[in-house]
Amino acid sequence: MKKVLSRIYLVFIFILLYAPIAVLIVLSFNKSKTRAKWGGWTLEWYVKMFQDQAIMSALYNTLLIALLSALIATILGLLASFSLLSMKHRTRGFVLSLLDIPMLNAEIVTGISLMLIFIAIGQFLSHWGYTIEFGMMTVLIGHITFNIPYTVLSIMPKLRQINISTYEAALDLGASRWLAFRKVILPDIMSGVLSGFMLAFTLSLDDFVITHFTKGPGFDTLSTKIYTEVRKGIKPEMYALSTLLFASILLLILIFGRARRKTAASSQPAVY
């Protein structure tokens, strides 16, 4: 009896969690334009979505920003991890807790402060006739900023596990510093680097708040596009777009989870 109840409870929770998304997905295939009526299956909204210039440019922006911000944040995170590693224990602890703040900080605060600093820098530069235009660049910088802590936190633990004498052994055997890094250090931390990259990519892909405050007029990513469209009145294309966004993030989470499991498996201590 107890078992049956707990099963029912579990199913109930999953319905609560997934029903909204399920409704969204179903509606994206609904032929009828109104939500109240089922008009049969169609792919019309998907076709319309792909034909919509504005949506396609938002998709392009989203992917480009996600890719670039994840890439740059991963490289910066890698460099930061190396310098953190060479710091003294107390300094390192201090810097690492500084890294926690942007992650725990309310996104809206981060968004507004980024917007303010871009305005401030713009005003400062205007003395020399330069201006800062809100658009691709500002959004990209914003995304890199909030991604760095995540990449550092993915890479740091792998880097700390490394036996530094393997690096010295590579130098000893004639490798240059760069070759020793590439052949010995990088393969060992690769899973951390990859999961940091995937995490950053996913976070950038579905970010709304920070994008909203750092984008200029006329520049949109998928999330801000959906937001503006929905305010005007919901078009079924938006269901299709949302479904697509959900599906791609789900895919990334699955890949990310695989990378994580691989990392966990390889970090188990060898038994002698």
């Binding site: 004498s165 393997t166 010295e168 052994a169 000893d172 055997l173 004639g174 052949k183 060898a270 002698y272």
Partner: protein, 380 residues
């Protein structure tokens, strides 16, 4: 003074203001098995890392084969290191590990394959090419680390406590392996360890270090039989180190008893350190209640004085069976003497204790920290 392969001159190194090596001079001859021996923190590993190029000395220079290599990068040096924790590349197979240095030198695939086979044969691990490091035991990993270093045909192999993580039996086997390897390869080995037994077994030359100074340089026999100071005597093997007074040449007073010895030149009435190895103390049993003027006691005394005019009377207070011998503690003159003997004396046995004059080591007391550092040229 010919064929100095490595010459370390006036090496000084400090970490965060802590002086680890202080104006240290040492040279290493070609084909030598030289061991840097000392307790942890004595600077021996730092010395090795300076030779390997992983640390740069604050002052002084490293001369290798006549050339100054003090600031040469590790990958440009003709020496290879075997690290304490093996440091094998975990994501590469055994063969790839061994080939690492050869690939960098752009050797042909045929050459590399032959070299791998040769090296694996040398370390008795034939057929291990495709294994991964984490599937090997500690001893096997260490042999692969050695194979990886020697395929590059270095002139010098630096070994940083390579046997430290192995168990006793394996360590002893590997000691013989290393001696065999050294003889087969005909190259110089510089070995760092804190294990005095390892040092005595393998080395041609031992350099005893403490607190950044060289305490003594010599053959294993020299170091064991003629320690230069109380630190060396204490560090190499077990010792009884006691305060004594040099009455005159060849006569030393310990706890008020005068013993004949063979040392001269210490002056008269001079306080000294006296070192007696536990295996050199000889015990003569006396009956439980023998009066000092009884014949049994007199016989024991005459046996003792045949060894040395001086002797102590004491009581066995502790016995441990060590397999080959018994390790005993004898209470005499308020001091616990460590005695090794193949003959067992039960706890409570009254004994006379004497020592051959040749087995008494007399050493000057260090007057200050600086005098702990033996001037190098005195001993070469």
């Amino acid at each position: 003074m010919s064929n100095k392969l490595i010459d370390l001159q006036h090496i000084t190194k400090a970490f965060d203001g802590n002086v680890v090596l202080d104006d240290l001079n040492l040279y290493i001859r070609e084909n030598e098995f030289l061991t840097l021996l000392g307790p942890s923190g004595c600077g021996k590993t730092t010395m090795l890392r300076i030779m390997g190029g992983f640390e740069t000395p604050d002052r002084g220079s490293v001369i290798f084969d006549g050339k100054d290599i003090t600031s040469l990068a590790p990958n440009k040096r003709q020496l290879n290191t075997v690290f304490q924790k093996y440091a094998l590349f975990p994501h590469m197979s055994v063969a790839e590990n061994i080939a690492f240095g050869l690939r960098i030198r752009k050797k042909s695939e045929d050459y590399i394959r032959d070299k791998i086979r040769y090296a694996l044969k040398l370390v008795n691990l034939e057929g291990f090419e495709e294994r991964t490091p984490d599937s090997l035991s500690g001893g096997q990993q260490q042999r692969i680390a050695i194979a990886r270093a020697i395929v590059n045909e270095p002139k010098v192999l630096l070994l940083d406590e390579p046997l430290g993580a192995l168990d006793l039996k394996l360590r002893q086997d590997m000691q013989y392996e290393l001696i065999r390897l050294k003889n087969e390869l005909g190259i110089t080995f510089i070995y760092v360890t804190h294990d005095q037994e390892e040092a005595l077994t393998m080395s041609d030359t031992i350099v005893v270090m403490n607190q950044g100074y060289i305490q003594q340089i010599g053959t294993p026999e020299d170091i064991y039989n003629e320690p230069k100071n109380a630190f060396v005597a204490d560090f190499i093997g077990d010792s009884n180190i006691i305060d004594g007074t040099m009455i005159q040449d060849q006569l030393v007073e310990i706890f008020g008893v005068r013993f004949a010895c063979v040392d001269t030149g210490f002056g008269t009435m001079k306080p000294v350190d006296v070192v007696i190895r536990p295996e050199d103390l000889e015990l003569i049993p006396v009956g439980e209640d023998a009066e000092p003027d009884s014949p049994a006691y007199q016989t024991a005394v005459s046996r003792a004085t045949q060894i040395n005019p001086g002797f102590f009377e004491g009581t066995v207070s502790h016995v441990i069976f060590k397999g080959m011998h018994y390790e005993m503690e004898v209470q005499a003159k308020g001091f616990e003497w460590l005695v090794l003997s193949t003959r067992l004396f039960q706890v409570g046995t009254r004994v006379l204790m004497s020592v051959d004059p040749y087995n008494i080591q007399i050493m000057n007391k260090p007057e200050s920290e600086d005098e702990m550092a033996v001037k190098l040229d005195e001993h070469l």
